[in-house]
Symmetry: C2
Subunit: 231 residues, 2 copies
DNA sequence: GGTTGTGAACGGATTCACAGCG
DNA sequence: CGCTGTGAATCCGTTCACAACC
């Protein structure tokens, strides 16, 4: 399991972003070494990462920006609509909802939820924040693919459970906690079926801050982000 | 270079968080398998990760929560004060500034910066947002260890350069771009000395969102986050 | 000539088995 | 006897060298 390195997927996202920039600058051709330099990795790495998914270039020529972009969009599953709910509409949830770029690839916020009376009912980006109690009813009437979790740490596990009960297929967890499938107390293997196949991805800013502190104190342990000779 | 896996550092941060929770629950002892279960990794992994930095347990007994916590705090460099400036005080910057937990380990926001007239002068968490033009003067009068970068993508590289010029030792980059040391146009190896040793850590929510999309479509490629048998 | 695509080699990270010690 | 700490073994990801091809 995991024949394609997870790190490769992160890099593909980076390559795609670079291709968007190239396209915006009307640059129509690129190469593995050009991409490598812009992405801060080796050209070998670029070619290997792309090779996991197909043959997108022309030998002797390089890659055509729009073609490679289209292929990466397809590979990453960004050529389809993703319906997203955000759970937790405090400052962080609002920042996420308003952050530009999510809609570029059909990520659509279809529902916003919170429990605080001060927040429920508020208008954010032409959506009205609903109460968490209404999440279940909402998802039974609307397709929801992902949930973004922006609640306080002590609420995260419960909120994640509600998202899974509501049938989301993936959770982007912003809370600094490890989200766990429940360890069903009495009956073996029962509740956890809902969790089977639910993908959890973490975006943890406090952890990033602490890693940064560590690497400032131990710079030699950091694999330098490659700049000069790319190959 | 990189005798200690970078992934190990991320896991140490997780262990530390778990130890805080245990302490809050007045649990004073734990073990590698207990930590492993809570962190979603194997017990081997926990022991190996800790072994990179010392011997913190007692054979036959396990670990004492406060002791292991203290040691991890020391290892991660969290037993000292870190002075932080935030560059970019839009919604995201404000959410970061107000996010609880940063001050737990002496991360102190000492300066907030932006370029927008609508934002400069505003009061956030008993600090007044200053103009980017004043960053240099500010850092010459105040020690600043890290910069958090929460500006729009097209501003990120420039803002990073300003932070480096201002002498920060690390950047936590929230913008969806690769921050690069400058490729000094004319003279070889000149400007990039300032960049030598500057650590860059990324927290990219748009990338997380796209990885999530990919893994929802290709769940078998995701290394399952370990739950059941921990060893 | 130039650049991609890829099997093989390498190195680093995880897993394992067990020695060490309370 | 139990759980840690760790050298050895394995596995996986990155690097490499070069064959394939425009």
């Amino acid at each position: 399991m995991a024949e394609i390195p997870t790190a490769a997927i992160s890099r593909l996202v980076t390559y795609l972003r670079i291709l968007e920039q190239l396209e915006a600058q009307d640059i129509s051709r690129t190469s593995s070494s050009d991409l490598a330099e812009r992405a801060g990795v080796s050209a070998f790495q670029v070619r290997k990462d792309l090779a996991y998914f197909g043959r997108f270039g022309t030998r002797g020529m390089g890659y055509t920006v729009p073609i490679l972009k289209r292929e990466l969009v397809r590979v990453l599953g960004l050529n389809q609509t993703w319906n997203v709910v955000i759970v937790g509409m405090g400052r962080l949830g609002q920042a996420i909802a308003n952050y530009p770029g999510a809609s570029d690839y059909q990520f659509q916020y279809v529902g916003l939820f919170d429990v605080s009376p001060a927040i429920v009912g508020r208008q954010v980006r032409n959506l009205t924040v609903q109460h968490m109690d209404d999440l279940r009813a909402f998802t039974s009437h609307n397709r929801v693919d992902m949930g973004f979790l922006a609640v306080p740490p002590d609420r995260a596990q419960d909120a994640a459970q509600m998202l899974v009960d509501a049938g989301v297929r993936g959770i982007l967890n912003f809370a600094p906690v490890v989200i766990q499938p429940p360890v069903e107390a009495t009956v073996q293997q029962e509740i956890s079926d809902e969790w089977r196949g639910v993908i959890i991805e973490n975006v943890d800013f406090l952890a990033g801050m602490k890693r940064l502190a560590f690497y400032i104190l131990n710079p030699h342990l950091k694999d330098a982000p490659m700049t000069e000779d790319t190959e």
